[in-house]
């Protein structure tokens, strides 16, 4: 598929559709795939394999002012939601992007391989659902579904919400999992248990800001966390409160715009399940204001900047019980 993709992009560039492509290239190791903007000469560096987890939509923002013609962007089905959301917010100009919808059968989390004690990975062969991992210490076989990225386990489906053309097949990897499972589990806990759960998680935060930088919804030109007057400017948290505040405010700022792409949790070096905060907002919005999926179409008005006269009162939170 990678070959087919490169050939097609080269053909498009020859036709003069665009001069550059936003895709992925290999990083330090073959499993460290990183986003890259490549010209026709660099096209051979382009990779598309099972390690292309990163969501590319946000990288288009910085390209917009530089563009004279178009840029080709490789968009996976789940990334197409972020792409639409950025178009809705006028951060990305749909007219300036030639979207190739690339098929996705779930991406592999190399940390999950390591957690199984597989280290010294030198190469991976894929044959359907079976992965053969070549390591310095011999070969191992793993079922592909057991080492998928967490975000792939709650896959939003195989349908591209936006594309100019599609290449490759997609496959839904969610296997019927309910993405709100963990949110419900937390809601069922007592307040003290929840508090302790979140203290345990959020106290691991080192304020590297990776979650903010990768988040396609966190696209403000001026971020509140860059303002030195907030007292929470890019720095290590000095107190429990700052950890809480950073994550509450960040989750609140993306409420209604979060497409649940799961990038925040994927990039967190401390493994904090940050998507659970965003999912709580999504669950509440679905529950109180009607089902809503950000990025489904371009031009949606999200529920947090909308209202109806019959909305519930904030006391609904108290009335739900299980708050004390």
């Amino acid at each position: 598929m990678q070959r087919e993709l490169i050939d097609r992009i080269r053909a498009l560039m020859d036709e003069g559709v665009a001069t550059r492509v936003l895709g992925w290239k290999k990083g330090e190791f073959f499993y460290d795939t990183e986003p890259a903007i490549l010209t026709a000469e660099q096209l051979d560096q382009l990779v598309y394999d099972s390690f292309c987890g990163p969501n590319l939509s946000k990288y288009l923002i910085q390209e917009m002012p530089k563009l004279e013609g178009k840029i080709i962007a490789l968009i996976k089905p789940c990334d197409s939601y972020s792409f639409n959301q950025l178009c809705t917010e006028h951060r990305v100009d749909r007219e300036k992007v030639y979207v190739i919808g690339v098929g996705c059968k779930g991406k592999i989390d190399v940390d999950k391989l390591r957690a199984r004690g597989i280290t010294g990975i030198t190469a991976i062969d894929e044959d359907g659902d079976t992965l053969t991992v070549h390591t310095l210490y011999g070969d191992e076989t793993v079922n592909r579904h057991e080492v998928l990225l967490n975000k792939c386990l709650t896959c939003k489906g195989k349908e591209h919400r936006v594309f100019d053309e599609q290449i490759g097949e997609s496959e839904d990897t969610s296997a019927g999992a309910d993405r709100f499972d963990m949110v419900k589990k937390l809601e069922a806990m007592t307040a003290q248990e929840r508090f302790e759960f979140w203290r345990g998680e959020l106290s691991k935060c080192i304020r590297c800001n990776a979650c903010r930088n990768v988040c396609p919804a966190c696209s403000c030109v001026k971020c509140v966390f860059d303002n030195p007057n907030t007292g929470v400017q890019n720095k290590a948290a000095a107190d429990d409160f700052e950890e809480n505040m950073f994550h509450i405010i960040r989750a609140f700022h993306v409420a209604g715009r979060c497409t649940d792409c799961g990038e925040c949790s994927r990039v967190c070096p401390q493994g904090i399940p940050l998507h659970l905060l965003n999912r709580k907002f999504i669950a509440d919005i679905d529950d109180l204001y009607g089902e809503y999926q950000a990025g489904e179409e371009i031009g949606q008005r999200h529920p947090v900047i909308n209202y109806t006269q019959e909305d519930c009162e904030p006391s609904v939170v108290r009335e739900r019980g299980n708050q004390a």
Binding site: L186, E187, A191, Q192, E193, R194, F195, E196, F197, W198, V224, A238, D239, D240, F241, E242, N244, M245, I248, I249, A251, F252, A255, L277, K280, F281, D284, I285, L288, Y289, P303, V304, I305, N306, Y307, T308, Q309, D311, C312, E313, P314, S315, V316, V317, R318, Q323, A324
Partner: protein, 146 residues
């Protein structure tokens, strides 16, 4: 002279300039009493209340935060309180999700003519917060008075 060491809650009330702030005035001029622990901050509309303000209040040692605005449909700017209603619902739900008692946060709609309702609301809220005791879950140690 004896020093009163009894713990008193700190309550921050964000009041809309066009209704609850005048309601608080009316409560005063009607000589209705409400606890002196309630610190009123005037805002131009309930939707001016940035969620960050609420967290900030808790950081600086508030034990409870209440937002008072115009009744839905009566907003001076037509629709501000409808937006505030959605935002506060989501924020309170999130605070509850993080294990912070949802009785510490409240929204009440109080018009300029409702002096007695303002006093009653504040009395009730102060009573709730006194029962809950000091807020320890969202405080900042550096802001603590010794």
């Amino acid at each position: 002279m004896s020093v009163n060491t009894e713990w008193k809650p700190k309550i921050v009330a964000f009041c809309c300039n066009w209704c609850s702030y005048a309601g608080a005035d009316l409560a005063g001029s009607s000589r209705l009493s409400y606890p002196a622990d309630v610190k009123i901050i005037r805002i131009p509309c309930s939707c001016r209340l940035n969620p960050l303000f609420i967290l900030r209040a808790f950081q600086r040692g508030a034990d409870g935060v209440i937002l008072c605005g115009c009744h839905p449909g009566d907003c001076h700017y037509s629709t501000g309180n409808y937006y505030a209603r959605r935002r506060m619902t989501l924020l309170f739900s999130m605070l509850s999700y993080l294990g912070i008692d949802s009785r510490r946060t409240r929204v009440e709609w109080v018009s300029a003519a409702e002096g007695p309702k303002f006093a009653a609301t504040m009395n009730d809220f102060a009573k709730t917060i006194t029962e809950l005791g000091e807020n320890v879950k969202l405080g900042d140690l550096r802001c603590k008075e010794n």
